[in-house]
Symmetry: C2
Subunit: 539 residues, 2 copies
């Protein structure tokens, strides 16, 4: 399997001419004959590199405005014949082996992205190129196929190391790249052509798959892949330290990044089982973590925590990883930030198992939301619109100019919490904080109750006064908070429960046939209510 | 765009010879010259159809064990030249147009599925076929390309309707199919070859996309696709009646089917926001619906309901769609069943907006679980293993032979409820019923509390005795129920809360470092506890 094939004769025909002169120069130096076509040949000849005109090999002219250049019995035979079994036949037919094909294809994707018309797209469907590439790749036992300029350096290096020959391993790797290249090419052509007849189709390719230790549970096997041709994907996490990421870690990391990706200010999210149980936006990172953690200090243990700014030492000291009393150390599974101050990184690295991940959330694309369901595929735009309006529908008035930043924080929170969901948010020390939330409930009323209970728990945790004053404290804090609903209230009962708990301000999309009775309940109980016109279901 | 092209000269070269004689006969009848190769030619000649041997067109012999048959300047020129612009050049080169290519490819997929060795796989990579197909497809303005026997009937019909010619529309449709065919072909080759060098890659193609009214929310646009080459996908729902399915309907339908797909007996699931809030397995369908509905009679309004058996009239009358008091009618969004008795269907059709869906859940494949996360892709085996063991770890003994069916029902339930989750299940009138559940909580303790509260609510709904006797009734019913946890209890607090509520039997995977103290709590409180060894997280 390591049989070396000397590269004596190469065919160069490229659309993207990056690096082609350097490659041809290297081939010339090992005494390789270079067959070439049209523009590629001109570029090489201009650089003083002697080439064989392809028509002298094909025996045919270039024809039909360039549609026919390489396809011929002679070229594809030279690529395809078995150097052992077919040697005599090739000699009899006067076919001389070609050992290397360097070819990339008409830039269909580029012209498509430039908005080319249909006829231009059709002209940019390469026929000869894929034929050569596929023929050479099929015969990789003897032939090398290079389809991308970024592989020229490795090719030149291999040729140098092996005295002008290429190994079987290298040729097999190149073969795989070649078929991936033609698969990508025809995938894009197929979906583009489908669109021309009004058919919606979708093709996705994923590579670089790594086996995970297991899936969502230990009895499920799993892999993690990266989408071909995309940068800054969730796959491109840079794990600086710690155990390998698990399936659930990766799911939660995605949730943690989604929860802060639209924050304009520094932000911190705390994720448990895909839901943010803590979320905070504000100025100082150490406060962000403390206040996000306070959103659910029980669940925060073992959570996934993400930041959208460089992480500093003061912040990570919150985890108390060096506390002499082990029970005081705050163990989390994963910490993600765009970068780490060296002392912050060193501090976190004290915990052997903690996964420390560098990922710049600002690079994460607002891509499509794709759900695979037993062979069906749901694809939708990401939920990126916070609100359509800010209609104060209650008699009770509030200053929306002052309140809007907190409401918008609440909407960013609610759209990443699983439905039915209710969030209670407040300003605390100048920070926008998720005080309590209820997630994933069939019944909205229960989500409301959960968010209130969690808020009360958290207020109890921070309350330092006399027990007798606690209810007054709750009433005061909740009266300044906003209760945010991901979807409209179907009945007034949610308002009544919220009001009884001390909530005075509610945000919801509106749009129920019973909006009037819901607003009437607010008016009766003296609550402010804002309609946004935008629902934020998330499942 | 409707320009008709007469089919005077066709090239037939197929691996799958289904229907090829019938097609060639039709071509012969319109006076079309048939060029053919190897096995295809033999088959046609044997059927008495005159063909032109391809080598007389290529000017070359078939060579290298069949690796070179069609690829030639003459064939691809005949497919590719522009019938207008290039007419003179073609005449000068003595190239005569080929108007139709009928070609399917070496059966790479078939030999792969048969477990062929690597060399056989390589031999089954078709080079000449894709070249012809792609050349003809590129020039669809003049040439028709047929890649699948199932298109022969339409082809013959079109030829008959148009006096031996094909329309531009038809050629363009065939062109799209052709590029989809070569895209599928190279996709499978690429992933298979990647595997040969230890690289994990994955490619998926989806077609038949339909635009949904909107996505998860009204401001998100969305499409629904079907995976290419797969049958019985979630896309293959047969909507018998009602409004078009929404994005959220489709998500919930998947959840509804997942919740009952492994039931051996008749079953019914009630889904709200992706979670089963009602689930029942037993004999009689009408009872199943009544008992599933009772799992959360508030949330069941507007839910998605699935059955795994033919639906009968008695069952659907439960919805009371003809009740004179509109408030007594039980409105649901979707009803799914493998089939419907005509009177049951007619009854359901009284509700104009109700989506009625025919889908045989038994045909749903236990496929892979695929999650797309911002350009990363997590792929895992479906969660199909209920338990690894049934270890009674408590001092308190129960008869597991008797209890196992209910425990297994509980495990089927818990693995479709979002984590952290707790389910309380019981036998009621001989039916296994989800009495109450807690879903989607960061904190397991809250899931436990939710499941108990919901169970108490439901017991209250069914209780007909004196109020003073209610707690005794709860204690009795809960003592016969099992509480099922999707993951281990990290502390004994869950046991204490369950015991205080009246639960006497608990199932959990086990595996916590504090298992001993959890078991000790069971022993202290007199509870039975079973360890299964299998966690069922679902996110």
């Amino acid at each position: 399997m390591h049989q070396l094939i000397p590269i004596k004769r190469a065919l160069l025909s490229v659309s993207d001419k990056t690096g082609i002169v350097e490659l041809a120069t290297a081939l010339q130096q090992i005494g390789c004959e270079i067959i070439s076509t049209g523009g590629t040949r001109k570029k090489l000849e201009d650089a003083g590199i002697a080439t064989t005109e392809i028509s002298t090999v094909t025996g045919n002219p270039e024809a039909f405005g360039g549609r026919m250049k390489t396809i011929s019995f002679n070229i594809e035979s030279a690529l395809l014949f078995d150097r052992e079994k077919d040697a005599d036949e090739a000699a009899a037919l006067n076919i001389k082996a070609i050992d290397l094909v360097v070819c990339n294809l008409y830039p269909f994707q580029k012209v498509l992205e430039k908005g080319a018309d249909f006829d231009t797209l059709i002209e940019n469907i390469d026929i000869g190129g894929p034929t050569m590439i596929r023929a050479a790749a099929k015969n990789f036992k003897y032939v090398a196929t290079v389809t991308q300029p970024q592989d020229y350096t490795a090719l030149i290096q291999q040729l140098e190391e092996n005295n002008g020959a290429l190994s079987q391993d290298f040729r097999q790797q190149l073969m795989c790249k070649a078929f991936n290249h033609t698969a990508d090419y025809d995938a894009l052509i197929a979906t583009t052509m489908d669109k021309s007849i009004g058919v919606h189709s979708m093709r996705m390719g994923f590579g670089q798959g790594v086996a995970l230790r297991y899936g969502e549970n230990a009895h499920q096997s799993a892999h993690f892949y990266k989408q071909n041709g995309e940068d800054n994907t969730l796959y491109d996490l840079n794990v600086l330290h710690g155990k390998a990421l698990s399936f659930n870690n990766i799911l939660d990391i995605n949730g943690a990044l989604e929860a802060i990706k639209e924050a304009k200010r520094p932000a911190c999210s705390v994720i448990k089982h895909s839901n943010p149980c803590g979320l905070c936006e504000g100025d100082k990172q150490a406060d962000l973590l403390r206040l996000a953690w306070a959103g659910d200090p029980i669940s925060a243990f073992g959570s996934i925590i993400a930041f959208n700014r460089k992480l500093d030492l003061e912040t990570v000291q919150f985890f108390a990883l060096d506390h002499p009393d082990r029970s005081q150390r705050k163990f989390v599974e994963v910490v993600i930030a765009p970068s780490f101050a060296p002392d912050a990184l060193a501090y976190l690295q004290q915990h052997k198992n903690l996964r420390i991940i560098e990922f710049d959330i600002n690079q994460l694309k607002n891509g499509q939301d794709v759900r695979y369901l037993n062979g069906g595929l749901l694809v939708q735009d990401a939920d990126l619109k916070l609100h359509d309006k800010m209609d104060l529908v209650s008699t009770k008035q509030v200053d929306l100019t002052l309140e809007q930043p907190l409401i918008e924080f609440g909407l960013r929170a609610i759209k990443t919490i699983k439905s039915n969901s209710i969030a209670i948010v407040r300003f605390k020390e100048g920070y926008a904080q998720l005080l309590g939330m209820g997630a994933g409930q069939p019944n909205r009323l229960i989500a409301t109750k959960l968010s209130i209970e969690k808020s009360r728990e958290n207020l109890q945790n921070e309350f330092t006064g006399d027990a007798a004053d606690f209810e007054a404290y709750v009433a005061d804090e909740l009266s300044k908070s906003w209760l945010i609903s991901d979807a409209f209230f179907p009945f007034a009962d949610n308002v009544e429960i919220a009001a009884a708990a001390g909530i005075r301000k509610i945000v919801q999309p509106g749009g129920s046939i019973r909006d009037k009775s819901v607003i009437a309940a607010c008016d009766k109980l003296g609550l402010a209510m804002v309609f946004t016109g935008i629902r934020h279901f998330k499942h």
